[in-house]
Symmetry: C2
Subunit: 387 residues, 2 copies
């Protein structure tokens, strides 16, 4: 009966709004036809608002990682010095991509569970004025850390370096004012806070970055940003675009603006606070200790010596139909992660916490049933000013 | 953002399983074609298992009420004496229909919130041996009472009367063994525990009832059961059938049998027990006091002098996205009803109760947040034997 029943609470893919599902279910269109161009043009304009930029937002048929590589492939020559700020697995991935392109990679690493410190970036930029690009992660999905992108941008924009931000699991879930803050390249993907299935990456580029990209002679074809920009002027993609996802994005952005960007950020913070208070009430420990460093889109919870995190996830999935993520790489088996981004209502958090309580009890962890839900409900009621 | 987001917890229509939705979304077929006949035949066989009968289950494009009228129209001549057992609004509806067909209607009424007493039916049948038919409701949706159909059938089958049971909001949510118990006519509808959209009614008829129907000369055309039976032999409906709903029913019954009928009944009982214990923990009163008289598919909760039930429903709907039913007729404004039938998982009950707690607090009813969810979780954990 309940084979497909689930509460998908990983940090992407996320649930899809029925409006968005229906928008994607419409008759498919050719990617060179006039009817598609019209939808492309509409969607482009909306995407600019989501990126808070006047630059063109380019649509690429790829995962988020593809668009991270796109940023690197359009900027980095062999031997170029780049700085990669690492706060987890996705920072490391940026470093791996830069190394694959034979960059001279400086890695600035922070303890897992901590946000980056912009002052340390500042020092490195002063020590290495030849740094061509700084790569940083907005929400580090692997640790559930939110990095201070505004402060980082403040520092990088005074240098000649290009700031590239992986906002894959953050954009529209957490504020990122590309133009106002001076971020040069912003990357995101469809299956995170935008609330679509995977397969579409989005990337926007500042004038400062375009100047470097124009002069860049490294090999790239599918990843050539100039081709996407030139075709976007004709309201299409250089290669076959993910047409159905663009239909979905057009509708998804409508829903996002109906809620309002700022209200959306506040909702994501509420979801985060509900999860964090509930987890504390259940006696479990959060990986990110400092509230201001905690992502609004995902929360990482440390396991306990008394239970097996993977067993907890299995029971959550099989018996309570709640799908949460595990840890990645050296955090595997040590944490589980609850995604609370995109089409996620506070009611969904209450459901999730109820399942977590029951699953914890089932694996023998001492828990007072209802305590987590109560804590989460109180957070919400406080926001509503109910007592 | 959340315009269509909802937790539909009325006693039908219910949520639709994605498998069922997809089955209905397939290319429509003509209702006289061979491809449809094949699906009709499959679905008919499955429907017999759901009704626990060897009789043909007939498919009618109508609401449940249409099929109630169908039963009356095929049995009742002007002046015929019939007994209608009334435990709420849907029992009253049966009486209204019988009166519209000019029957001599005996009404045996029980207090709202109480189940029928088969012994009183027995006495009336003895006093009135000319009663042609007894009409009773399995789950009285308006009061959330479950009537003892097996005991009733035991009594009626010794008389010449035909027992007609409205199992619209019960079938496959509560046990009804048509052949084994000796129920003559069973009626249900698609949008209840069968988990489909509204528009399809199902009706099955015993040999004892067919004998009366064959001789019946009252006016009927669309409601003529013989036409449905004769066409069912050719795997179609006499008039245009609700083709997409029959696709959905075919899949829905697959899901029901994957779970198992008996396991489904147990799940509905679990959902009921979770709701009842939670409501008690929140200090509210149940309309049906006696557990054994409480429906497994819907629960009615009495309001309190300190709050307005309709205001509670409004807040539940608008702020917590939980759609519950109000009271009908003289119970309007006095109760609210939580449906827990069909494609409803225990997690959905936890979500619902969390919303009810928050909405109660919001309208000023003194409630300990988490107490209801805790009680519901405990019921479930006990069934799982977790402590």
């Amino acid at each position: 009966m309940f084979k497909e029943y689930q509460h998908l609470r990983i940090p992407g893919p996320t649930p899809i709004a029925p409006e968005v599902q229906r928008a994607m279910d419409r008759t498919i269109l050719g990617h060179r036809g006039g009817e598609f161009s019209k939808i492309f043009a509409e969607t482009s304009e909306k995407a600019k608002k989501a990126f808070q930029t006047n630059q063109e937002v380019l649509f690429v048929a790829s995962s988020g990682t593809g668009a991270l590589e796109m940023a690197v492939a359009n900027l980095v020559q062999p031997g170029d010095k780049v700085l990669v700020v690492v706060t987890g697995v996705f920072g490391e991935r940026f470093a791996k991509i830069a190394k694959a392109y034979l960059a001279d990679v400086l890695v600035l690493e922070f303890a897992y569970g901590r946000a980056l410190d912009p002052q340390q970036v500042s020092s490195l930029l002063q020590q290495h004025p030849d740094i061509k690009a700084v790569f940083a992660t907005h929400c580090e999905t692997s640790t559930a850390v939110a990095n201070p992108i505004q402060e980082l941008a403040e520092i990088v924009k005074d240098s000649s370096a290009i700031l590239v931000v992986d906002s894959v699991s953050a954009l529209v879930g957490m504020d990122l004012q590309m133009d106002a803050w001076g971020v040069d390249i912003v990357v995101t993907a469809s299956h995170k806070a935008l609330g679509l299935p995977p397969g579409l990456a989005l990337i926007a580029v500042s004038d400062k970055a375009w100047k470097i990209i124009e002069q860049h002679s490294g090999p790239r074809f599918y990843w050539d940003l100039r081709a996407y920009r030139d075709n976007a002027k004709k309201n299409t993609t250089p290669f076959t675009g993910p047409v159905a996802l663009i239909f979905g994005l057009n509708k998804s952005l409508d829903l996002i603006f109906i809620e309002g960007l700022e209200q959306g950020f506040q909702r994501h913070l509420l979801l985060r606070n509900m999860v964090r208070q509930a987890i504390k009430a259940l006696g479990l420990e959060l990986l990110v200790k400092i509230d201001s460093e905690a992502s609004a889109t995902v929360t990482a919870i440390l396991g306990d010596e008394s239970f097996d995190v993977e067993q907890l996830r299995k029971i959550l999935r099989e018996e309570y139909k709640i799908i949460v993520a595990g840890g990645q790489q050296h955090l595997k088996g040590k944490i589980f992660r609850i995604g609370h981004l995109g089409y996620t209502h506070p009611m969904d958090i209450l459901t999730t916490i109820a399942g977590v309580e029951l699953a914890l009890q089932q694996i023998g962890y001492p828990v007072e049933l209802g305590a987590g839900v109560k804590a989460a409900e109180e957070v919400w009621a406080n926001v509503k000013n109910i007592s």
